[in-house]
């Protein structure tokens, strides 16, 4: 059950979370954090990490940081502004529908990143997923198209490009 190669990334993640949550880096925190990280890493590594070779790839890390900054500062703000406009407009410009949005990434982490990115931006929510056909069902506040390919371009293409580079 215990896979040492998979355990190491899990240990690193656990240690970082321990220190960030604790909010201090005294010797006591580092010591206990290391012990906790080793135990939790060994227990969860096989569940969390399938391909340990990918985890410390600097290119993937670069795309992760770039995507995080872009997502929270650009994509989120744009979506918020759009929904605020709709909410404040007296005409209530709503055109809601549930549309099919296909995705073409391979790993579960990439797929989950796209799904949560769609859901976390106001105006679009992933309501269901067809895992075998690789399709999200997305509730869209202003459904501009019902064509799956077009909808993918408008909703999730940028998320998908980044998620693929980070996780696939």
């Amino acid at each position: 059950m215990v896979n040492l190669k998979s355990a190491i990334p899990a240990m690193v993640l656990s240690f970082i979370i321990y220190i960030v949550y604790t909010g201090s880096i005294g010797p006591y925190d580092i010591l206990t954090g290391a012990i906790v990280a080793v135990i939790i890493g060994l227990l969860t590594g096989a569940i969390v990490v399938k391909d340990p070779g990918k985890t410390f790839d600097p290119r993937r890390l670069y795309w992760l940081i770039k995507y995080t900054i872009w997502y929270f500062l650009v994509a989120e703000v744009k979506a918020h502004v759009d929904v605020i406009k709709r909410a404040l407009s007296p005409r209530m410009p709503l055109n809601p529908a549930i549309v099919r949005v296909p995705y073409y990434v391979e790993t579960d982490y990439a797929m989950t990143t796209i799904a949560n990115s769609i859901t976390n931006t106001p105006g679009t929510v992933v309501v269901d997923i067809d895992y075998d056909r690789k399709v999200f069902y997305v509730h869209w506040i202003d459904a501009k198209t019902s064509d799956p390919g077009e909808a993918r371009k408008m909703i999730s293409l940028e998320f998908e490009e980044h998620a693929g580079k980070i996780f696939d």
Binding site: Y28, V48, T112
Partner: protein
Amino acid sequence: MRASELFVLVSIIVFIFSLAYITSLGGLGQLPPVNVRLLAQRYLELTWNPLKPFMSSSGYESVTAIVWDFRGLDTFFETAVFYGAIIAAIAIYRGVKISGKGRTTGMSPIARTITRLSTILIPTVAASIALHGHLTPGGGFQAGSVATVIVVLIIMVFGRKALIRKGMTKARILLFRSLGLLGIGFTAVAILLAGTALGLNAYVFQNQPKPFAPLGFPKLYDGMILGGSLLLFNLFEFIAVTAGFTLVLLLLSLGEEEVRGVVEK
């Protein structure tokens, strides 16, 4: 506003103020006497007081110091009651087979992926709460309650059978619960046992050295605040509470059809 509404409003205000006035005069029973507040001052003063080493506890956190040091025996019995309740739950479910065999459907792949990641996040945060119980608010029980969240998530998202297939069997959880309880009991008498072995005076639930009882748990090491017995109590309570809650959740997640055969006997 109509006159009747105004009447209701004024009545409520008059009622609240008269109740407050009567309470402050002691009309609804005696107010807490001043010496009770003195007790609180003593707790705050003695939780961490290098000037009074024989009277003070071994961490910064007053609540933990009260719970596991100043009033440790109370907490010990409270813990015993909690585990009595869990033993009762196990007794009710005796004879019920909890197997991991069979298919589980669970929730969507999105929820599964996030829950997988959470198996690192939640136990790590829980461990931090337990290991800093003597320094910041938190402690063993709180940490155990946090750790239980991942068990709830796994049961809901992957299904109970998946939990068992990953090795969380009833026997194993019981083992951890017992280890936690044994640890609490051992910490309570450790100094007494050491004192007896060395021919020194010592007390049950002793944490720091007292007059004529020179043994105690380590309080400081190389600038690190180890918290003496508080750290050990928090750690073992964390293990015992996590295992106890997990066990009850496992039992509660059984469907009626699985329990039926035993109930009908």
